[in-house]
């Protein structure tokens, strides 16, 4: 049985339909990515799963239970807008947050000790969070999310604002959690992160879910119809190609998605007439490409941001 089951979920704020009739499952022991540009409804969906805001319609089931204060305690949640009490001491703060998640004080102390040691941060115990550097308080934030050892972890845009060291640390944590059989759901608008980590994906656009499924399967379904080409010379031949979409174009590189029945060998021939080819590869489309062809180029809000 799926760990999280979302069925026909809808939410509106005034006239804005933030989430419309969304259904998807998050499978146990896997990493699921919620993708889509900002404003697509990811955060709203995540807040409903966390029982922070109520849904207008639809149901959310977690480990067989409808969302409630009880299911909240099964989840470790790191929101996009992160923060801690600045004046509180690290130790007291972590104890408070884990007690709110239903942990006993003694158990919380033990776990906090373990995690602070693990992150090389044990001597921060009596420091006020305000005294810590940004990177240090991000580590405390991770601990606050995972210290009560829940079965489900939800991260909203987890890598935004993290320094490279903490980004790497968080990736390790997430992968480690999966190895322990925990369930992870995270949202992002950065597609490449999903490619590296996710087992399953769920694409959002304008409050609707447009595609969901196993990442490998989704890519396979789109077929090997993308050309990666590296060249030196005149790049104008790219403009002459018809029925293609060119992503990621630079002076000596292009990612070309073939839309019609154009043969990739024709592209190669054209390219050889104009430039020296260093590399020519036929691959599965990138997630970016999958997203664009699913929702249609014109329907994407904040497209630049997505491609950034």
């Amino acid at each position: 049985m799926s760990t999280i089951i979302v069925e026909h979920l809808s939410k509106h704020f005034g006239k804005t339909k933030a989430v419309q009739d969304v259904s998807f499952n998050v499978e146990k022991g896997r990493i699921t990515g919620l993708l889509g540009p900002n404003g697509a409804g990811k955060t709203t969906t995540i807040r409903m799963i966390n029982y922070i805001i109520p849904q207008d319609e639809g149901t959310i089931t977690i480990n067989g239970l409808p969302v409630s204060a009880k299911t909240q305690k099964m989840i470790g949640y790191m929101p996009e807008e992160r923060g801690l009490y600045k004046k509180m001491k690290v130790g007291e703060q972590l104890i408070y947050l884990s007690q709110l998640k239903g942990m006993s004080k003694d158990k919380a102390k033990e776990q906090i000790k373990y995690w602070l040691n693990r992150f090389g941060a044990f001597d921060w115990h009596s420091k006020a969070v305000g005294e810590l550097s940004k990177g240090m308080s991000q580590k405390i934030q991770f601990i606050a999310t995972i210290v009560h050892d829940p079965d489900i972890y939800i991260f909203d845009e987890p890598f935004s604002g993290l320094d490279p060291i903490n980004s790497e640390l968080l990736k390790q944590i997430i992968i480690e959690l999966r190895e322990k059989g925990k369930t992870v759901l995270f949202s992002t608008h950065r597609m490449e992160q999903v490619e590296q980590m996710c087992d399953d994906i769920c694409l959002f656009n304008n409050g609707k879910m447009v595609l969901a499924g196993n990442l490998r399967q989704v890519k396979k379904d789109f077929g090997k119809n993308t050309v990666l080409i590296e060249f030196e010379g005149d790049s104008r031949f790219l403009d002459e190609l018809e029925n293609v979409r060119i992503n990621n174009r630079s002076t000596n590189f292009a990612e070309i998605r073939i839309l019609g029945d154009l043969n990739h060998q024709d592209i190669l021939k054209k390219a050889m007439n104009h430039a020296e080819i260093h590399k020519f590869q036929l691959v599965e489309p990138s997630l970016n490409e999958i997203f664009i062809s699913t929702v249609g180029e014109d329907n994407i809000k904040n497209k630049e941001e997505l491609l950034a």
Binding site: I52, A69, P79, G83, Y85, K87, L97, Q99
Partner: protein, 430 residues
């Protein structure tokens, strides 16, 4: 509602605040300030007689100077033999505070006297000199008019007004209306200030959680209503702690201040050719204070708490709607307005606690915490009025709590810009 969660929130709110430097200082400084205030008042009443002002009298009629000296030998000196210029010189050399020239005109006509002085002594000196010369000149006029001693006696009469209150039980007791008017006003002001300061704690606390961005982490573990209730209870417990300390300190200081002041004054008056009775009369009125009944203190606590409850949830709602401290001003208006109105009515109520305005407004829930306690302290308020006030406040509290919870729930998760009243209305309707 989960009581464990509420208790955890309460505990955090209480402990982090009780340990804060600001709280510790305020809690200590208020009793210290109160002790210093008592000390200063005692000091003043003990030492004020020591400062003497000498006024030279140049009496051209040589008929009133002696009566002035008789009236206050320490202050008035008869210099009728000296020329005016020497008196001027003495004032300039600060041997004299000032001088008055009394001529025949001042007695026969209504011409004002002139005090030429160095400027020290202030209003207190001027009024007492004025009273003194008035008295002697009137006496002199009466003497010249050769009125009978009976009529002179009539002029000497000073009828006072002593008041005794007849209680419902039919016992007439000493009336301390003046004292209790001051107590009533003070209690009103204390509740007024307390609502603002503890309410301010709550508003700032809510804004802090928003600007720190911790609120969403908290909201993923605690229901907004639990968080709100815990916060209100935590700050409420803080208020009780602080007031408890202050009340104990106040009672303690008052208990020792009286005897200490008395013994100080005893010494003082013995040195100055002691007269114990005089010392007793000079004891500042609030040290010689009538006992404050326990029932009044209990009512004070009840109205203090109800007032706090009534307003605190609204302060939380404002905090949740604002995005930064500076944005609260405009949103604060609907809360500050009724408190300010109550405060201004109270300035009327403490002088006339039984007027229609006082009675009616003391039963309006948003005014009751300030006005009803002022009235209870000063006058006999019928039980039904107190009950109506308490009942209406409880009902209004459930209303404000409901309203605030609705605003708070949405407000804490909306970042970016402060909400206007239109937004608040939308949130309530959601």
């Amino acid at each position: 509602m989960n009581w464990r969660q509420i208790f955890l929130v309460l505990q955090r709110e209480y402990i982090t605040r009780v340990k804060s430097k600001g709280f510790i200082w305020a809690t200590i400084l208020v009793p210290v300030g109160f002790a210093a205030f008592i000390g200063i008042v005692v000091f003043i009443s003990v030492w004020e007689s020591d400062v003497s002002f000498e006024i030279g009298i140049l009496d051209e009629t040589s008929q009133v100077a002696e009566s002035l000296v008789e009236l206050n030998a320490a202050r008035y000196i008869n210099y009728s033999e000296l020329p005016v210029d020497s008196l001027r010189a003495m004032v300039q050399r600060e041997q004299l505070t000032g001088y008055i020239v009394i001529s025949e005109d001042n007695i026969t006509e209504n011409r004002s006297l002139e005090l030429i002085y160095s400027g020290s002594g202030g209003i207190q000196l001027l009024t007492s000199v004025q009273a003194d010369v008035r008295e002697v000149i009137r006496e002199e006029r009466l003497r010249r008019a050769e009125v009978s001693p009976e009529i002179q006696a009539i002029y000497d009469t000073r009828i006072g007004l002593d008041s005794r209150r007849l209680t419902r039980e039919g016992v007439d007791v000493d009336d301390d209306t003046l004292f209790f008017s001051v107590v009533g006003m003070l209690m009103g002001i204390i509740i007024f200030v307390a609502i603002f300061s503890y309410g301010g704690y709550i508003t700032r606390g809510v804004i802090e959680e928003k600007t720190n961005r911790i609120i969403e982490v908290i909201a993923s573990s605690v229901k907004p209503i639990e968080l709100l209730t815990g916060k209100m209870a935590g700050v409420g417990a803080l208020a009780i702690t602080q007031f408890g300390i202050w009340i104990i300190a106040f009672l303690g200081l008052s208990a020792i201040a009286g005897p200490v002041a008395m013994s100080l004054m005893d010494q003082q008056t013995q040195q100055l050719d002691g007269d114990l009775a005089a010392a007793q009369a000079e004891l500042p009125f609030f040290l010689d204070m009538p006992t404050i009944e326990t029932s009044l203190i209990i009512f004070f606590i009840i109205f203090f708490l109800l007032g706090y409850l009534l307003y605190s949830s609204l302060f939380a709602a404002i905090g949740s709607a604002a995005d930064s401290d500076t944005d609260t001003q405009q949103l604060m208006l609907p809360i500050t307005a009724p408190i300010m109105i109550a405060y201004f009515i109270m300035l009327h109520t403490w002088r006339s606690p039984d007027s229609v305005l006082s009675v009616v407004s003391s039963m309006i829930p948003f005014f009751s915490p300030i006005l009803m306690i002022t009235r209870i302290a000063i006058t006999e308020v019928p039980i039904w009025q107190i009950s109506v006030a308490i009942f209406l406040m409880l009902i209004t509290f459930t209303g404000t709590m409901w309203l605030s919870a609705k605003i708070y729930k949405v407000g804490i998760l909306s970042y970016g810009s402060s909400a206007g009243f239109k937004d608040l209305l939308k949130w309530v309707k959601q």
